[in-house]
């Protein structure tokens, strides 16, 4: 990796993003081919994907990756030409090669050089099975090497997706798009550094989108006699041409592109080959692609935070309005402030909705990994498995997707490894020999529901009871939930698949603590297991009830609240050392929030006849919290809270109100957990 220049990181990042997508599509198509070896669409698609991967990685100097992709491309070229058929061993070798490509890309993404991974064995195996020469031409002699770009007939190099999005973003920033042509004088003995000097000058003051030939990796020197640079800038044209004012640079020609030219650029695709493939396959997918833009998650988070701050000022303004309206006079100003405040409120709400939309991604990004996972595992285990996936389009917060990936993978591995029986056992039980695993996602109200079910043997309730020492009066339904309690694991011998000792308890902790979600299991002996995960739509905004207690304000997430009640002295009973509230004939533990937060008070009777109570409910149980006042319901933008301020972990986050007051968000699950495990005295 010997490239220099300012653009490298950007280039590398774009490569990594794109290649990840390529690998995913590659896997999808290979799986398709495994089902249907003659599928011409998939064969063409794999050929195209490996071709792109080869060219892009060669461009960045990842020769091993490029070579591997090249071999695959050769194999699929032969398959396409029908001089080679896809045998089972060849398919396996192709999958190994695809895995290795994935491995190399992940290593590159953490900064390793691709040459550190051994590719020879896989390449040779592939070549042998395909009857091709293994090492005929390790380096690319022609094609992408001449200019590094495939130039179309019109002379315009087609844009890469990230370059296209750069244009769109630049337009949104109100910048002009320019095409700059320069010539390096014949007198220049070496042309590349001279072209580079101009390129560098431009990079310093404008946003260079594309150059032809490419600048970041030197090509043959004579190619740099002419250089075309596509850039965006808000600077006047003279400033841009001034950047070309160095020795031996001739005739800089700067052209501001009009909308028609920009549209033309945007409609050009990566390679001519792809254009034909895409349009012939379906016009619809091409259209969807052209309307989406790749955005850095950090940028989205930044916008999200900013809108969060906007809501603070919105609240501040409406409070100012309240104060103003209590004063006499200035009626016309009051009206105007009210209207402005209302409009701001409406727009902020809409903005939150819109930005929330950008944070959401279809859960397909996660689910699409599973066919491959299931295939590999089932072959390793000698089990025959059919996988069903539903609700791929369900949208979910991207931060949740990242955290959810591991636990969900673990659940699926468990189903395969422990849930589904061996083929022999299934035959004996009169079940279809192929086991079934279904993964689904859907939105229900304010929650995302994800289910993983299998038609395997189900959980061994007896064993769970014995291991966890569960009392006889606990129902089977309740007992199976113990697989989620810390330290629990039913299987004695750990196979290498289920993740060595990491059990469902760890899965549950991640879902509950990191995702603020819930997980539950249903199981029927002999006929299968279902794991249901409930997740909030997003982690960063929470519709909450603000309450006051001992002069401070706190918030309780509305999703945790069952009801707000008036608690009078006669509804309160005492059982042992603790109080309970008689809630429609049921005894609900009663907690005075002030004593939870500030230590026990002397008297146990409520000061007033009527007290405000908030009944909160979690899977573990319910509690009625006695508070001073119910203040208001609000959408709060939650920020994480430092452990220093939260040593008892009673809070799940913190937020800032319109008037600058800081509000802690109560972690009701934790409060209930403390009650269930012995109360507040010990902490």
């Amino acid at each position: 990796m010997s490239f220099t220049g300012l653009d490298d990181k950007k280039l590398l990042r774009a490569f990594l993003e794109e290649s990840e997508e390529l690998v995913e599509k590659l896997n999808d198509n290979l799986l398709q081919l495994e089902k249907e070896a003659g599928n011409a669409d998939s064969i063409n698609e794999v050929f195209r994907l490996t071709h792109s991967l080869k060219s892009e990685s060669a461009l960045l100097g990842f020769t091993h990756l490029s070579e591997l992709a090249h071999r695959l491309e050769d194999v699929f070229d032969s398959i396409r030409a029908e001089t080679l058929t896809l045998s089972r061993p060849l398919m396996d070798a192709i999958f190994s090669a695809a895995d290795l490509i994935h491995e190399i890309i992940s290593r590159i993404s953490i900064g390793q050089i691709d040459a550190q991974i051994e590719t020879r064995t896989v390449i040779e195996e592939l070549a042998q099975l395909a009857g091709l020469e293994p090492g005929a031409e390790p380096e690319e002699p022609s094609e992408a090497s001449s200019t590094g770009n495939d130039v179309s007939d019109s002379g315009q190099v087609p844009l890469k997706p990230f370059q296209r999005s750069q244009i769109i973003e630049a337009r949104e920033r109100g910048e002009k798009i320019y095409m700059l042509h320069i010539r390096v004088s014949e007198e220049a003995e070496i042309k590349y550094p001279r072209a580079y000097l101009v390129f560098n000058n431009l990079e310093l003051i404008t946003n260079v989108i594309q150059t032809s030939p490419i600048m970041t990796i030197p090509q043959e020197d004579r190619l740099y006699e002419r250089l075309s640079i596509l850039l965006s800038s808000e600077l006047p044209a003279e400033r841009i041409t001034a950047a070309c004012a160095v020795d031996l640079i001739e005739e800089p020609q700067l052209e501001a592109l009009d909308q028609a030219r920009i549209d033309e650029l945007l409609s050009s695709s990566e390679t001519g080959e792809q254009v034909t493939l895409r349009t012939s396959r379906s016009g619809r997918s091409a259209r969807i692609e052209s309307t989406s833009v790749r955005v850095d998650t950090n940028k989205l988070n930044e916008i999200w935070q900013l809108v969060g701050e906007l809501t603070i000022y919105k609240a501040q303004l409406s409070q100012l309005h309240d104060r103003l309206s209590r004063q006499r006079g200035n009626e016309s100003i009051k009206g105007e402030v009210e209207r402005a405040s209302d409009s701001l409120e409406r727009i902020t709400a809409e903005m939150q909705q819109a930005i929330m939309g950008t944070r959401m991604v279809p859960i397909a990004v996660l689910f699409n990994k599973f066919p491959r996972l299931v295939r590999d595992l089932s072959r390793k285990l000698g089990k025959n498995v059919e996988l069903e996936i539903h609700g791929k389009d369900t949208e979910i917060d991207r931060t949740i997707v990242e955290v959810l990936s591991d636990p969900l993978t673990h659940i699926i591995r468990n189903s395969l490894d422990h849930g589904l029986e061996e083929p022999e056992e299934r035959r004996q039980r009169n079940k279809a020999e192929a086991g079934r695993i279904a993964i689904s996602a859907q939105q229900q109200g304010g929650k995302i529901v994800i289910e993983v079910s299998d038609d395997g043997r189900g959980l061994d309730v007896g064993k769970i009871r014995k291991k966890a020492g569960i009392a006889a009066d606990v129902s089977d339904e309740e007992a199976v939930q113990y697989i989620f309690s810390p330290g629990f694991s039913t299987k004695e011998g750990v196979t290498d698949l289920s993740g060595r000792g990491v059990g469902m308890d760890v899965v549950a902790t991640r879902i509950r603590e990191d995702l603020k979600g819930e997980v539950e299991v249903r199981s029927e002996s002999g006929s299968g297991t279902l794991i249901r995960i409930l997740l909030p739509l997003t982690l960063t905004i929470l519709h909450s009830l603000v309450i006051s207690c001992a002069g401070y304000y706190y918030a309780i997430p509305v999703q945790d609240i069952k009801e707000t009640v008036k608690v009078s002295a006669q509804n309160i009973g005492i059982e042992g050392a603790s109080e309970y509230y008689d809630y429609e004939g049921q005894k609900v533990a009663l907690l005075r929030l002030d004593s939870v937060l500030f230590g026990p008070t002397d008297e146990n009777t409520p000061a007033a006849q009527e007290n405000n109570g908030v009944v909160v409910e979690q899977r573990r149980g319910s509690v009625c919290l006695l508070v001073d006042e119910l203040v208001e319901e609000e959408d709060l933008v939650i920020k994480p809270i430092s452990d220093l301020l939260n040593h008892r972990r009673l809070f799940s986050g913190v937020t800032v109100l319109g008037d600058g007051r800081i509000i802690f968000i109560l972690d009701t699950a934790r409060i209930i957990e403390i009650i269930e495990t012995g109360g507040f005295d010990g902490i």
Binding site: T4, E189, I190, P193, N200, P218, A245, V246, D247, L248
Partner: protein
């Protein structure tokens, strides 16, 4: 007012040629250096408008001297003298912020043109 130039090259002959060319066009050569170390010291002392710096010099080469000068004065105007075959060094120098470069052997107008354009920018 004449622009003030610092010349740094280990070859006396080279500096002489450059000096002649530049003085003929009204530039003022305020100092000369024959090593990288000397170039830095002279830059600090004289604060010239522009430096013509040879890449290959004893006691700290031109690139190292260039970096130190930029550390002293981020707005320093530097032109590098290089030879064919030093493309990578030139690209590094461009990234570091030089205004232009000249490839040896060079014609007088190359030096003049490079310096004039660099001083304009």
């Amino acid at each position: 007012m004449a622009f003030r130039v610092l010349l740094a090259d280990d070859l006396y002959f080279m500096r002489m040629v450059q000096k002649e060319v530049l003085e003929a066009k009204g530039f003022q050569i305020v100092g000369e250096a024959s090593t990288g170390t000397e170039a830095i010291a002279k830059y600090k002392e004289l604060r010239p408008d522009i430096v013509v710096l040879d890449i290959t010099m004893p006691e700290m080469n031109g690139l190292e001297a260039m970096k130190r000068i930029f550390a002293l004065d981020p707005d320093a105007k530097i032109i590098i003298c290089s030879a064919i075959g030093q493309q990578n060094l030139i690209v590094n120098a461009i990234n570091a912020g030089i205004k232009d470069f000249i490839v040896k052997p060079f014609k007088p107008e190359r030096l003049l043109s490079a310096i004039n354009k660099a001083l304009q920018g």
